[in-house]
């Protein structure tokens, strides 16, 4: 009966999803962040992989549960289920492959369709070590991110440049949103189910969600 086994030593649990095209380096970003490992020969993810890391933001211990989803199209049907309860998302593209950047729009749309309204989103240009193969100029991506109100970082999982920073920024953003939201809740108090702390599964869709799904999801 050792509760420590179950690691209750954190204040918040955030679920974060990593999305983006196949081969942009999501899995390596995650392994770099959680275990500081990099595998040059990593295989494409099947379904989803998880990893957690606890970091401290503003004196609070935050456990980030990161879902590394498969980027391949054939897993697309499953991946949409992974968005449930996510409070943050990182859309990853490969700076040396323009197509992965162009698909960010698609990923963003999918995220908005499937995830919470107030999910925090970061845009990540990975493989910044491949500057000589750069296909997406930083300025344009930065511009795209700011227009969509996304956080933006260029990272390199290979030489671990900016990886920690990117995750930290997102987690901090989520934390700020959550703590602000909680204050709001304290005032209204009737909307406890919408608290973003922890994954909540609402069995009855709110009118807002109804509207959204009817307008966007065809299948």
């Amino acid at each position: 009966m050792n509760n420590e086994d179950y690691g209750y030593d954190y204040d918040y649990l955030f679920k974060i999803v990593l999305i983006g095209d196949s081969g942009v380096g999501k899995s390596n970003l995650l392994s770099r962040f959680t275990t500081n490992e990099f595998n040059i020969e990593s295989k494409s993810t099947i379904g989803v992989e998880f990893a957690t890391r606890t970091i401290e933001v503003e004196g609070k211990k935050i456990k980030a549960q990161i879902w590394d989803t498969a980027g391949q199209e054939r897993y697309r049907a499953i991946t949409s289920a992974y968005y449930r309860g996510a409070v943050g998302a990182l859309i990853v593209y490969d700076i040396s492959k323009s197509g992965t950047y162009e698909n960010c729009n698609h990923w963003l749309k999918e995220l908005r369709d499937n995830a919470d309204d107030n999910v925090a989103v970061g845009l990540i240009g990975n493989k910044s070590d491949l500057a000589h193969l750069r296909a997406v100029p930083t300025a344009e991506a930065k511009n795209f991110a700011s227009e969509n109100e996304l956080l933006f970082t260029e990272t390199s999982a290979l030489n671990s440049e900016n990886v920690d920073q990117a995750f930290r920024e997102l987690i901090t953003a989520i934390y700020q949103m959550v703590s602000k939201h909680q204050v709001d809740l304290g005032d209204s108090g009737n909307n406890a189910a919408a608290a973003p702390k922890g994954p909540t599964i609402s069995l009855t869709p709110t009118p807002n969600e109804n509207k959204k799904s009817s307008s966007s999801n065809c299948c």
Binding site: K97, E102, P137
Partner: protein
Amino acid sequence: MSEQSEESKRISQQVTALSTQLIESIDKQSKLEEKLNHANKIIASQQPSLDKYSNLKVEFEKLKISSEDQQKELDNFKVKIRRERELRENAEQEVEKLSKEVEDLTATLFDEANNMVADARKDKYTVEVLNTKLVEQLHEKDNLLETLNLQLKNLKKVLQTVEDENNSLIGNNRYSIIQPDSATTSSSTTSLEKITTTVSSYSQNISNMANGIIYSPIISSIRYDLPLYEEFLKFIAVIPHCRTIKDTSSDSKLIRRLVNDEINPVLKLDNASGLGWIVRKTILSTMMEGLVVVEPLSGVNETFQMGNSTQPPNAEASNKNESQSSMPKLFKFPLTSPPIALHEPCSFCGESRDDIIEHARMYVLKTQNKQEDGTIMVTNTFPLCHWCLFKVRQTCEIFAFLRSLKTGVWNLEKVTMKSISSKDSSRFSVVTSAIRQTKTEDRRSKRMSFIGGLTKNSSAINTAQVESTTSMEITGLPTTNIQRAWIQLCKLRSILHWAHVGIWSIDDSITSKIGPEIKDPDDKLEPASIEANIKITKKQIEKDVESIISENNQGESFDFESSASTSGATEASSEEKSIAGESETKVHASQDNSEHQSANALEQETKNNFEEVTKKDIEQESESERKPKEAGDETLTHEPNSISPKIEEENKEDTASSKASNEDDENGTAASSINETDDVLDNYTDAND
């Protein structure tokens, strides 16, 4: 006379009587007086006593009074006492009552308290039991989760293995058509390293020459005995101690040789009119440090595919439409805009034509400078045409790869300058080792069941595998990560050479992805990961699958490199394949005989192709020569043993290609000749039948 005598006598008598009476009275009086005196005296003496007595009497009276008072008082007291006693008795009764009450109360209190404690204990106990059960359940769930995770992991590995096998199968069909990856929406999959290819029908392959491969060597034919490889080993030995890859120049000539022999002739920096004199001198070292950025003027340029590559996939196009209508723009220019280019000539080759996309200067090379505070500043930008873009990027790729060797992601084996100089490094030059062999055997047996499930005729395939155990040795696949890294370097160099030859893009050709073998810490039972497993067994699997295909396709061979072509193999059954595997094993198992046997094979082939009539002769011939060897090993019976130089001479033209691969064989990198031998032997068995 008588009367007077009598009267005198009588008077005398009376007088005597009276005198005696007097004396007596007097005496009595004195006595009385004395008595009186005496009494007086007593009285006088008794006077103080009398006084005392009276005093006492007074005192007695007084005392009597006081005694009475006291008596009264006593009575009062007695009354009081009685009253008090009554009070006391009352009080005592009351006390008794109270104490009894208190006792009762205490008893009830304790009862109640005990009850409460008991209740609490009961509650606690139930909670504890519940808790224990819950924790048990949780552990159970944990175990379950762990098992499921493990299972999932293994399943994923299997899935990956299957995928890899498929890929390697496809990759091995080197004449297959490369199609745009229509399965995925992203154009990202058409990357340099990872090209998903799909095999369409065989007949289409021939007609579709546009997608044919010009030339590409295979991994097993890479040499590890070149001086440059030794320089590469030296480079690896010193790189951990060097700050930059350029610092290795004192110990290893690798960089110098690469730059002088390969990069400079391609880039022709001396003729690069667009670069300044200083830039020409420094640009290579800037590239080596990774301080160059090569990027399009706008990301929109990347949507225009170069060279002969195909249209972007449909899904992408629909994405574009979508993004045009609703999404915020990705680039500075709308996606429908033409590519953005500069009018200035290319700074490397001076290209100034604006006619086609490949001539346009759509990219810029930015050189950067690292400031003292660590920030990076762009110092210069140079426009690039597409051809130079390719060359510059490829040069940078080589340097980037060399830099990556320093980071440790390649998991390179340890080598030291000492070991290289003392020729200890031979183990990095020889591609096989005994340990490797035993390991692969283990793995192979694991693989067999899997492969068996894949095939209809699993037993035949399995035999083929068992017999081809030793053929693993001669596949020429790298056994160390250093060798894998060398292959990667060779690949990058060859791409650079292709750029020099003059191609627009390599995006649409086949390259195999080469990476280090990294041991999976989770795999405790299997020392090497399945990943590596695949690598080692790849060749074998290819062969197996090939035989399956040939089975299914009625022996239609996919391998054009084999000189036997399709003619002999058409009737090849899987059983014959297994025999082929056997004899192949023997061919390579005995190095002494290999040359000899290849010659035999050639001879057999030629006979088969040209002299159906001589079938019997061969049989006789071979049988006669076979017998002495049979004693040693029964499997040898399937080997062709006769040499007939006469026939070989007659068929010189046909065997020319075989001879070339025969030379390969001699070099110990005989992978390409395996298939050949396969087919040859098929033919042989055909002939024997």
